[in-house]
């Protein structure tokens, strides 16, 4: 197998921010339970903090290393997944249309997500996050040039 192109390093930060957002309710809940002091001090906040540290610091980095893509002449390969790995290839000849999406956080870091739509029921859309916005646009143009017709 050929070498995969890694995503933009900023992608780690985007995932971390998302993880932080997801952890927030748990942290607040743990603090409230600590205040109620039903169990000895630290019974809630310590495990939550440890889990949070892993999910915010370590997991995004591993996730980032697990992801990658490979832009070929006639196909795009997207690899993702830490525990459940998936390796998807979409031939450009089967692409129906292409989106470049940008969420608020992604925009802040100058990233974008490239989404390829196919006519298949399975993998109707294949998204590739964590690309530099300019790269995503470039890839879109390159793919579009090879899609002979936009729709059926």
């Amino acid at each position: 197998m050929d070498e995969l192109t890694p995503l933009h390093p900023n992608y780690v930060k985007v995932v971390r921010l998302a993880a932080l957002g997801a952890m927030l309710p748990f942290a607040i809940g743990a603090l409230v339970l600590e205040q109620a002091s039903v169990l000895p001090t630290g019974a809630f906040i310590v495990p939550v903090l440890l889990a949070g540290l892993y999910l915010v610091i370590r997991a995004p980095l591993r996730r980032y290393h697990a992801r990658g893509y490979q832009m070929g002449d006639d196909r795009l390969r997207v690899v993702r997944g830490l525990v459940f790995r998936s390796d998807t290839v979409v031939p450009f000849g089967r692409v129906q249309h292409i989106d470049v999406e940008q969420g608020p956080v992604e925009r802040g870091y100058g990233l974008a997500t490239l989404v390829l739509y196919t006519a298949g029921t399975h993998n109707a859309s294949v998204s590739l996050p964590g690309l530099a916005h300019s790269d995503a646009l470039e890839m879109r143009e390159a793919i579009r040039a090879r899609v002979k017709r936009e729709t059926l």
Partner: protein, 512 residues
């Protein structure tokens, strides 16, 4: 749509005048039940015919009037480049659909329109469901002409008049038909107890009409204690006869339901090979007529049933792009021998697996893991329940042991099922196609053309990485195709081979 040249007013056409009669009857039919329910509910029906009759007459009048207005304000035009439809009295809707966007024209006849010789014409654009353009209702001749026109225009021919004949003279070859005997056999295998679900549902809906509350358990107890009491005194022999009688009635009901549904749906089933694709006509009361263009067939499914498999009966469905909104599955041969299915498969541009097909099994590790995943939780459960019985003596003796035994038995059964599933699952790849066979009691064979696949995914879970196997998932337009537990090296090889044949043919230039 840019400014369209206004067509002459005389080019516009109305649907058949009979269609407003049909429309009125149909809306009356759907209005009847709520109205009757309303009358009963408000107690209006008690006030005699003097009140009821005028209200019914008013309902009839309004329905007819609305139906007439709807008919009056519906018109359509078969233009040079598109079909246009205008409708509505206050809010007018105008829609133009270019011919090249129309995938197909399907004709449908439900019972009441059929009595009047009316046809519902549907233009399939891929918009799906409600958004499709429909012309309701026209005469059968007009429907055929509309279909012919659209097809001819799609094909890019010049005048309408000239083509009509060529299209109606299309040579069509009968591929498959079911006579009454076959239909009856099919009906027997379609044995269904769905009637009880329907009866149960109806009982729940209309229980206010019943003399007692059927959901009240005590009432049934009383019934048993009363006349039912005599049953207990009749002795074992009579009880056994009674039970046998009940089972017979059950079997008869299931048989009749199956036969009835099958005859209604598949009466006079005909599948023809026409230049426009596979044409299927079927139905007793609601007769449908649909054409599936061959180039839109993405994959095939050869299906069977638990019992009918033993007698060598199979069915064939096509997966196509046309019915994205629905299931994407169309039955083309409902019930036949394999040698009757083979020519249809061939006509559709596919081939059944033969002796040269190299079948492969899923990885043995996958089998081990799948069995372990089902058996281990049950074994743990059985052990836990057994232990519970040991340490809590208050529990009724024997009960925990029985539960533990049950859990163990269930686990063993499910494990056996997994083993059987693995044994039945196999896949193959040849120069043109992919084959996947899977299923436990009623194995199914999926056939897909390599060039018509949309994407390839290799998915691997933690167990798959340990055992060195993966699932291969293919994107099929309108369906799914998956090879389970393929050894990773083989999976990579299949993926690469399929991708190579996909990129060799551009989607928009697929044959057909």
């Amino acid at each position: 749509m840019t400014a369209l040249a206004a067509p002459p007013p005389e080019a516009w056409r109305r649907t058949s005048p009979l269609s407003f009669v049909v429309g009125a009857i149909l809306s009356l039919r759907s209005a009847a039940l709520p109205v009757v329910a309303g009358m009963i509910g408000t107690g209006m029906w008690r006030q005699g015919w003097l009140v009821v009759a005028p209200s019914l007459a008013a309902l009839l009048g309004f329905t007819a009037l609305f139906s007439y207005i709807a008919w009056r304000h519906f018109r359509y035009l078969v233009g040079e480049n598109d079909i246009r439809v205008e409708r509505g009295l206050f809010s007018r809707t105008a829609r133009a659909v270019p011919y090249e966007r129309i995938q197909d024209v399907s004709l449908e006849q439900t019972l009441i329109p059929r009595l009047f010789g009316m046809v519902d014409v549907k233009f399939e654009t891929g918009a799906g469901g409600k958004d499709e353009l429909r012309i309701r209702y026209v005469t059968a001749a007009e429907a055929a002409a509309l279909r012919a026109t659209v097809r001819a225009r799609k094909a890019g021919e010049e005048s309408v008049a000239g083509i009509l004949e060529t299209v109606t003279e299309d040579p069509s070859r009968l591929l498959f038909a079911m006579d009454l005997k076959r239909l009856a056999t099919f009906g027997v295998f379609e044995f269904s107890l769905v009637v009880f679900a329907v009866l149960g549902g109806a009982a729940q809906q209309f229980d206010f009409l019943l003399p007692y509350d059927i959901w009240d358990f005590r009432h049934w107890l009383e019934l048993l204690a009363g006349p039912g009491h005599r049953l207990q005194e009749l002795g074992v022999m009579t009880q056994a006869i009674g039970a046998a009688l009940a089972l017979t009635v059950l079997a008869l009901l299931g048989l009749v339901t199956g036969l009835g549904r099958t005859v209604l749906r598949d009466y006079d089933f005909r599948l023809e090979d026409t230049p426009k694709g596979l044409r299927r006509r079927r139905g007793l009361l609601t007769r449908t007529d649909a054409v599936m263009p061959l180039h839109r067939v993405q994959a095939l499914k050869v299906t069977t049933g638990i019992v009918r498999r033993r007698f060598g009966w199979h069915g064939l469905s096509v997966v196509s792009l046309a019915q994205e909104a629905k299931s994407g599955n169309q039955v083309v041969v409902p019930f036949a021998r394999m040698d009757e299915i083979a020519p249809v498969v061939e006509t559709a541009g596919f081939a059944l697996p033969d002796d040269t097909t190299e079948w492969h099994r899923a990885s043995r590790h996958q089998r081990t893991h799948a069995i372990a995943l089902t058996v281990v939780p049950f074994a743990l459960l059985a052990a836990a329940v057994g232990a519970l019985g040991r340490y809590i003596p208050d529990l009724a003796t024997g009960l925990p042991l029985l539960a533990a035994f049950g859990a163990a038995a269930l686990g063993a059964l499910l494990g056996l099922r997994e083993w059987h599933l693995w044994r039945r699952r196999r896949h193959a790849i040849d120069a043109r196609q992919l084959f996947v066979e899977h299923g436990w009691l009623a194995p199914r064979l999926d056939i897909a053309a390599r060039v018509k696949l949309q994407s390839v995914e290799i998915a691997q879970g933690p167990l798959g990485r340990r055992g060195g196997y993966a699932d291969l998932k293919f994107g099929v337009a309108g369906g799914e195709l998956e090879m389970h537990g393929v050894p990773i090296e083989a999976a990579r090889a299949i993926s690469a081979a399929v991708l190579d044949s996909i990129v060799a043919v551009d989607f928009s230039r697929l044959p057909g």
